[in-house]
Amino acid sequence: MPSIPILEERQAQIHRKGSAPFEMTCGKHSLAGSVSQRACVFCGSRVVLYPIADALHLIHGPIGCAAYTWDIRGALSSGPELHRMSFSTDLREKDVIFGGEKKLAAALDELIDQYQPKAAFVYSTCIVGIIGDDVAAVCRKAEKEKGIPVLPVHSEGFKGTKKDGYKAACDALFKLVGTGSTADITPVSINILGEFNIGGEAWLIKKYYEEMGIPVVSIMTGDGRVDQIRRSHGAALNVVQCSGALTFLADMMQETYGIPYIRASYFGIDDMAKALYDVADHFETHPAIMARTREIVRREVETIMPEINRIRRDLAGKRAAIYVGGAFKAFSLIKALRYLGMTVVLVGSQTGNDSDYATLRDMCDDGTIILDDANPLELSKYIIEKQADLFIGGVKERPIAFKMGIGFCDHNHERKIPLAGFAGMLQFAREVHTSVTSPVWQFVPTRAAVG
C-alpha cells in the first residue's frame, strides 16, 4: 500500500498514545489546502439555533449557505416547524455592489408578515462582513416595526471557527433570556442546555428530569420555543450538555442572573446516570428527588440490559474509531463503546482544546491515535493501520469508512434516531451491532486480505 503522506504542519495535531511526551496543538485555524472536516462560524451558529421551531431563521448572503443547511438536521419539534424552512436573502451581484440592506429589510418585512414568528434570527454570512451591511441597524428597525425580537447573529464564516459561531449564537440567545415572565417557575427547576432534540433526544431527557420531580423551564435549543427561552432565567440550575456549544450562554447566565450550571453528558449508561444523579445532588435539600432518581436509573437500566448483554457478546474485542465535532462527545463514546466490549483505536475531534486532549490521552489505551482537526487522508491512514471494525462520525466520514470496508455509525446532527438517554444507549448498541455484524464485510477486499 502506498504510504499516505502526512503534512509536516499537521504532525503536531496527531498523537500516538505512549509514543512521546504528550504535546498536541489544537484550536488552530485549519491549514490551507488541507481538506478539513470542519465547517465555519455560520455552521456553529446554525447548529445551535436551528431547533428553535417558532423563530424565523433568515440567512443573509448568497444562496448556497442557506441551501446547504435546509432541513438537514433531525431536530424534532412537537409543534411549529418553521425551523425546517430555509430562508435566504439570496444576494445577487447588484446587492454585492450596492449593499444588501434594502433586500434584507424587505425580506424581513415579507417573511415576518407571512409566517408570524415569535422572533427572527438574521445570520450574517461571509460576504456580508465584506460589503459592509449594517445588519444590526436593519434588525433594530424591523424589531420596532414588527414588535418581535429580531436578532442579528454575527456568523460571518471566515471570522473564526465553529466555536465562534457557538458564541455568536449564545450572544443572540442571551438577548432573549430575561425578557419573559418567571412568575410561575418553582425554585426547583432547570434549563437543559446544549441538547438539540435529534430524533427526540431532548424529550427523553426531559422526561427523566420531570419524573425526578424537576420541572424543565426551557430546553436550549431542542424543540425550542422563543417564549421558553425568554423566561429561562427563572430556572434554578442550568444543566449544560458538554458539547461546549452552550457553555458561553451558561457563563453569561451565571454572571448576570446568578444561575449556577453543571455539565452533563447523556450518552452511555454511566454518563446518563451521572447526569441525573448530579442534578439530584444539586437539589439535595429535597431527598425525595434522589430517591426517585435511583428508581428511574434502576428501571431504565433493567429495561435495556438484557438486549445490551446480547449485543455485547457479538461486539467483544471489536475495534472502533471515533471522529466527532466536540471532544466531550468523544469521552462519552469511548466509555459507551468500552461498555459494549469494544476497544477504541483512534479518537479525534474537530474542535477540542488542550484540556480535552489531555483527558483523552488519560482515557485511551497505549497505541491509540489521537487527532485534532483531521483530514480524510489522515483518517483513512489510521483506520486502516488500526484495522478498525467500526467508525463513528458524521456524513463526511461515512464514505471513507465504507470505501475501506469498515462499519459505520452516524453520531452527528443529521441522524434521525435518538442515541442519548438510556433508551438511546440501546439504540446506539443496535446501530453499532447492525453495522459491525453485517455479513457484507466478508466480501470486502481489504478484510479478505487480512483474513
Binding site: C40, E93, K103
Partner: protein, 457 residues
C-alpha cells in the same frame, strides 16, 4: 400558458431550488483524472458542498479549501492560495488542480489568474500540475453556471489545436448527469467507433468499487492529456437546450479557437432527443446506428404502446436543473403527460422559451413555467394545478408529502434513495427506465386507491 421570472426583486428565497456555483465546478473537477478541486474562500462553503455531494454520491469526495481567515479577507487570498496549492501537491501529487472561487474571494476582488501566474513563475523548474481557474461567484449564477463554467475553463486552459493522429474523437459535454448516464454515453459513442472525450467524466470517481487500498484521489476521470486533445476532435457535442443559448461555452470556445464543429443538442431524454443524439453520432462517424440501439429503441416503442393508456392526460410537475426539466418536459410530451408545471431555480432567462419549444402546443394553455423559482412558490402553484405526480429531485419530497402526490426521483440531489448515482435518464435505455418508473408509480397509485385490490393492470 403562464410563465414567470421572478420580477419582484425584493423578496426572499424560500427553500431554494438551486445550489451555488462552486458546487457545479467542484463536481466537474471530480470528473478529471487525478484532480483535486480547490475552493478559494473560507472553509464552510467547501465543507457544506462536500457534505451535500457525499449524501448523493455516497463516495469519498475531497474538496480542498484555501481557508480564509480574517486577515486573508483584509489582505487578499494570494498567500493562502499558494499554501493551499503547495499542500495539495505534497499530499495528492495531482495532475490538475481545479480552482473555483467562492463569493468571499470574489467579493474582496482576488485576482486568481494573477496568483496562478505568479505561482507558476515561482516554480519554473518544477513539474507542476495543470492549474485551471473558474470564476464562480454564486451571486451571479447557480450550480449549473458553475458546472458549465468549469467545463469551459478546462477546455480553454488546456486544449491544443494540433491535429491528432489515431481514431476520430468527439468531445462530449454532457452536462450534469448521473454516473450511470455517463457510462452509457461513453458506450454509445464507442459503438460508432469514435473515441469519446467526455468532460467531465465522474462515472468512476464518484461511482466506483470498494478499494483495496486507500486512494487519495479515486481512480477514473478524463485524463488531462485527453483534455489537451479536445482541440483536435472531429466534433463537439454539447447537451442541454437551455445551455445552447449560451454564447460562451466549452463547445463555442473550441469552435472559435480550434475550429471544432459544434453540435448543440438537448439532453438525450426520451425518443426524439435520443434520435437526434444518435443522428449526430452517425453524421460525425459516417456509420449507421448500431443494431443494439435500434433494438433498444424498438423495445422502448413497444413498451410505449403497451402502456400508453396509463399516461395520456396525466398531469406532472417537473422541477430541478433547467436542462433536465426541459428534457423531461419533451419526454412527457411524447407520452401524453401534460407537464403542468416546469420549474427551475436557475434558468438564465432562456428557460421559458426553451420549454415551450419542446412541448406540443396543445398543452401550452395548461402549463406554467417558472424560472428563478423556489420551492415555496412551486408548492403554492401546485396547490392549484393538482398534478398527478411530481418528477424532480429529493428536495421536493416534503412538498410531495403535503400534496399527497408521488415523487419520481431524478437528477441531483437524490439524498433519500440509495441509487442516485445509478439512475439512468439518457438514451433509449434511460427513457425505458423513466417510462417504467413512471408507469409503475401510476399503477401503484391506482392500486392503492382501488378498494377491490386487483392484482392485474
Amino acid at each position: 400558458m403562464k410563465s414567470a421570472m421572478r420580477t419582484d426583486y425584493y423578496t426572499a428565497t424560500q427553500n431554494a431550488c438551486n445550489l451555488c456555483a462552486p458546487l457545479g465546478a467542484a463536481l466537474v473537477f471530480k470528473g478529471i483524472a487525478n484532480t483535486v478541486p480547490l475552493l478559494h474562500g473560507s472553509q464552510g462553503c467547501s465543507t457544506y458542498i462536500r457534505r451535500y455531494m457525499i449524501s448523493h454520491f455516497k463516495e469519498p469526495l475531497d474538496i480542498a479549501c484555501s481557508n480564509f481567515g480574517e486577515e486573508t479577507a483584509i489582505f487578499g487570498g494570494g498567500a493562502n492560495l499558494k499554501i493551499a496549492i503547495d499542500n495539495i501537491r505534497k499530499q495528492y501529487c495531482p495532475d490538475l488542480i481545479g480552482i473555483a472561487t467562492t463569493c468571499l474571494s470574489e467579493t474582496i476582488g482576488d485576482d486568481v489568474p494573477m496568483f496562478i501566474k505568479a505561482y507558476q513563475n515561482g516554480c519554473r523548474d518544477e513539474d507542476l500540475p495543470a492549474l485551471v481557474h473558474v470564476s464562480t461567484p454564486s451571486y451571479q449564477g447557480t450550480h449549473m453556471q458553475g458546472f458549465h463554467g468549469a467545463v469551459r475553463a478546462l477546455v480553454a486552459t488546456l486544449a491544443e489545436t494540433a491535429s491528432v493522429e489515431g481514431p476520430l474523437s468527439v468531445n462530449l459535454f454532457p452536462g450534469m448527469v448521473s454516473p450511470s448516464d455517463l457510462r452509457q454515453l461513453k458506450e454509445m459513442v464507442a459503438a460508432f467507433d469514435l473515441e469519446a472525450i467526455l468532460v467531465p467524466d465522474y462515472s468512476e470517481t464518484l461511482n466506483g468499487p470498494l478499494w483495496t487500498e486507500y486512494q487519495p484521489i479515486p481512480q477514473g476521470g478524463t485524463p488531462v492529456a485527453a483534455l489537451r486533445r479536445t482541440g483536435g476532435a472531429a466534433a463537439s457535442i454539447e447537451c442541454g437546450l437551455v445551455l445552447s443559448g449560451e454564447k460562451e461555452t466549452a463547445g463555442t470556445w473550441l469552435e472559435d479557437h480550434c475550429g471544432v464543429p459544434l453540435h448543440r443538442l438537448g439532453l438525450p431524454i426520451g425518443i426524439g432527443a435520443s434520435d437526434l443524439f444518435f443522428a449526430s453520432l452517425a453524421a460525425i462517424s459516417g456509420q449507421p446506428i448500431p443494431g443494439k440501439y435500434t433494438a433498444q429503441r424498438g423495445r422502448l416503442l413497444d413498451a410505449l404502446v403497451d402502456g400508453h393508456k396509463h399516461f395520456n392526460g396525466v398531469k406532472a410537475a417537473l422541477f430541478g436543473e433547467e436542462d433536465l426539466v426541459a428534457g423531461l418536459a419533451a419526454f412527457c410530451g411524447e407520452l401524453g403527460i401534460i407537464p403542468v408545471l416546469c420549474a427551475t431555480g436557475g434558468g438564465n432567462g432562456r428557460f421559458v422559451q426553451t420549454v415551450q419549444s419542446v412541448v406540443p402546443e396543445r398543452y401550452h394553455d395548461q402549463m406554467q413555467i417558472l424560472e428563478d423559482s423556489d420551492f415555496v412558490t412551486i408548492e403554492k402553484t401546485l396547490e392549484a394545478l393538482a398534478p398527478d405526480l411530481l418528477i424532480g429531485h429529493s428536495k421536493g419530497f416534503t412538498m410531495s408529502r403535503r400534496l399527497q402526490r408521488p415523487l419520481i426521483r431524478v437528477g441531483f440531489p437524490v439524498h433519500d434513495r440509495v441509487d442516485g448515482s445509478r439512475m439512468l435518464h439518457l438514451g433509449y435505455r434511460g427513457a425505458q427506465q423513466l417510462f417504467d418508473r413512471i408507469a409503475n408509480t401510476l399503477i401503484e397509485e391506482k392500486q392503492k386507491k382501488n378498494h377491490v385490490g386487483y392484482t392485474y393492470y
